[in-house]
Amino acid sequence: MTEQATAHGLRESATFDRTTMAEIRRAASTGVYDIRGGGSKRRLPHFDDLLFLGASMSRYPLEGYRERCGTDVLLGTRFAEQGVRPMHLDIPVTIAGMSFGALSGRAKDALGRGASAVGTSTTTGDGGMTDEERGQSKHLVYQYLPSRYGMNPDHLRMADAIEVVLGQGAKPGGGGMLLGQKITSRVAKMRTLPEGIDQRSASRHPDWTGPDDLTIKIQELREITDWQVPIYVKVGASRTYYDTKLAVHAGADVVVVDGMQGSTAATQEVFIEHVGIPTLAAIPQAAEALRELGMEREVQLIVSGGIRHGADVAKAMALGADAVSIGTAALVALGDNDPRYAKDYEALGSAAGYFDDYQDGTDPSGVTTQDPELQMRLDPEAGGRRLANFLGVITMEAQTIARACGKSHIQHLEPEDLVALTVESSAMARVPLAGTSWIPGAATGY
C-alpha cells in the first residue's frame, strides 16, 4: 500500500484488489485474454503444509555422510521381461518436457548438460527433438503430443523413453500455444508452420480418443520401437485416481502426474489459475490407484508441479512418487528471472522474480526466447554446471531428510513419516494433522 493510502486508512478490497482491477482494465482495452507462462501464482495447499517427523525413540536415524542413503531409480520396469529397457537414473529428479520453441536451443543444450552430469534424464517437448538436446542428453525422453509437431519415427527410435502427453497441470484439457514472435524460421520449419503466425494447437490427439484407443496407440508405439523403450503417460492433475488406473490399463510403464502449480510456456491465465488440482491432492490419488492395482513400484509414478528443493522431493516421494520432475526450478537455475537483469525486466514492465511472459520471446535471461541476441546471454556450459549443482543440492537435501527418517534409500520414505499443518493439506495428502491422529475424510474414497 502506498504511504498516502495508509495515512488515509484506505482499505483495499480482497475481492477487487489492484491486480484484479488491472486485469479488468487490460481486457477492456485490448480485447484479448491474458496469455502468460509459468504456473499458478496463488497460494495453494502445497508441500509447505507438510512436515517430516524425523527419527525419535522408536525410529533411529542414519548417520549423515557415513551411512548410505541411495538415490537411484529405475523407470520402466513393467515390461522388462519383454525386452523393454528401464531407464536407470542416479537421482530421482528429472527434467520435465519443455518445448524447443518455448526454450532456446541453447537452453535445451544446457538442460541436457546439467542433467547428464548428475545422471538424470531430460525430456523433449512440443515441437520435436533438437540435435542440441539429443546430443547433450545421456537419457532423453521423447514426448508424443497432440500436435505431433516434428514427430519423427527416427527420433522415436533414438529416444530412451517415450512420453505420451495427455495433458499438463497448468492446463488439463488445453493444447499448446506458441505466439508468432517465437515462430522463427527454425521453429516454423520443425513444426511445418508458416513463420510468425500465432500457432493454434490441438488439445486432443488426432488419431485416438479415450482409454481403449490409448491402449492400441501404446501398442503401436511399442511395435514401432520393437518393445525396447519404456512408455510414460503424462496427465495434468484432475481426476488423477481414474486417470492413473486407465493409464495403467492402457499399458503405461510410468505415469507422470503434473499438478496445477506446474508451469507452462504459454496459456490463458484463466486456465492456469482455475483448472486442475494441486500437486499435493493428486499424489495420494495416483498412489492409491497404483496400490489397488497391485502396481506400486511396478508402474512408476513421476510427480511434477511446484518442486523447488529437496524437501519437496522428499515429500513427493514419501507420498508415493518414485521420482519427480522439475521445470521452473531448472529454468531458474539456468538464470530465468535473475536479478542481474533487473533493468531489462523493468523495461518490459515486469520485474526480476515476476516475469512470466515466456510467450513474448523477450526473456532477458535468454532462456525462453528465440531472439538470437538474447539467447547468447545463456552460456550452455555454465548453465549446465549451475543446473548440475542445483540438482546435486536438492538430492542431498532429500537424502538429509531421508536419513533423518532412518531410510537407507530415498524411496523408502513413506506417508507415515509425514504430518500436515493444515486441515486442508491433511485431507488432501492423507496424512494426519500434526499432533493428532486425524485425517479428515480418511474413510471416504474418490
Binding site: 500436435s147 493454434r200 488426432p206
Partner: protein, 231 residues
C-alpha cells in the same frame, strides 16, 4: 526361407504380430513381403523403414502402416483408425474403405484410399499427399498444415477447419467448410499438380476442371478479438 531378403509370405494365423513386425524392421530387410490373415490386427507393418513392397491380404485394425518410411504398402481390404498415421515417405494404398483419421499428421509419402475415408481424414497432415477414391467424412483436413488432399467424391461437414497451408481438391459436394477454409481459384499450376496427383494415385482419366480447390483464408493466423467465435 530367408525372411530378410527373399520374397516372403507371413501368416498371422501362425505368426504373431511381433514376429511379423520384427521381421519387417530387421536391418537390411528387402524384397516383397505378403501378409496373410491380418484379421483386423492393430499396428500391422507399422514403423517400417525400408524399400519393401508389402501386401496385406485382408482387413487391418488401427494404425496399419503407421509412420511408414520408404515402403510401398498395399492393403487389400479395409483399414481401421489412423492408417498410415504420421507416414514420412513411401506409399500406402487401401483397396477398401478407411476409418477415421486416415493419414493423420503424416509428413510425406502418398496415401491412396480407393473407397471412402471416414471422419478426420488428413487431420493435422504435415506434408503427405492423400487421394481418396470415394468420399471423406466430417472434419477432414482439420488443422491440416501442409501437403495435398484430393477427394474424388464428396466431403462432409467442416472440411479444412482451422487449416494452415494444405491444399484440398474436391470433385463432389462439400457439406460445409470449417473455420478459415475457403474455396479458391484453380490456376494452371493447380490443374497441373492435381493431374499429377491423380495420375500417381491411378486415376489419370479424371478431368481436373471438375474439381474445386480449397485452402486457408489465413484469417486466423493471428489471435485477435474479432475472431473469438472461430476458435
Amino acid at each position: 526361407m530367408n525372411t530378410l531378403t527373399d520374397n516372403t509370405t507371413f501368416d498371422l494365423e501362425s505368426s504373431s504380430l511381433r514376429e511379423v513386425n520384427r521381421a519387417l524392421h530387421a536391418p537390411g530387410v528387402s524384397g516383397a513381403k505378403t501378409i496373410l490373415h491380418p484379421r483386423g490386427a492393430h499396428a500391422l507393418a507399422a514403423g517400417v523403414n525400408a524399400e519393401l513392397q508389402i501386401t496385406i491380404e485382408g482387413h487391418v485394425g488401427y494404425y496399419a502402416a503407421g509412420m511408414n518410411q520408404q515402403a510401398a504398402i498395399t492393403i487389400a481390404g479395409n483399414a481401421g483408425v489412423g492408417v498410415a498415421e504420421n507416414m514420412m515417405s513411401g506409399s500406402v494404398r487401401v483397396s477398401g474403405n478407411a476409418s477415421q483419421s486416415a493419414g493423420a499428421t503424416a509428413h510425406g509419402g502418398l496415401l491412396v484410399i480407393e473407397g471412402d475415408a471416414a471422419a478426420r481424414c488428413g487431420i493435422s497432415m504435415k506434408g503427405v499427399d492423400i487421394v481418396v477414391g470415394g468420399s471423406v467424412g466430417h472434419m477432414s483436413a482439420f488443422m491440416a498444415q501442409a501437403g495435398r488432399l484430393v477427394v474424388r467424391g464428396d466431403a462432409g461437414e467442416a472440411l479444412g477447419d482451422s487449416i494452415y497451408e494444405t491444399r484440398i481438391y474436391v470433385r463432389g459436394s462439400v457439406t460445409s467448410l470449417g473455420a478459415d477454409c475457403t474455396s479458391k481459384e484453380m490456376r494452371p499450376e493447380h490443374h497441373q499438380e492435381l493431374a499429377e496427383l491423380l495420375a500417381s494415385a491411378g486415376y489419370p482419366e479424371d478431368d481436373t476442371s471438375a474439381y474445386t480447390r480449397y485452402g486457408s483464408a489465413r484469417q486466423l493466423y493471428h489471435f485477435t478479438v474479432d475472431n473469438a467465435d472461430s476458435y
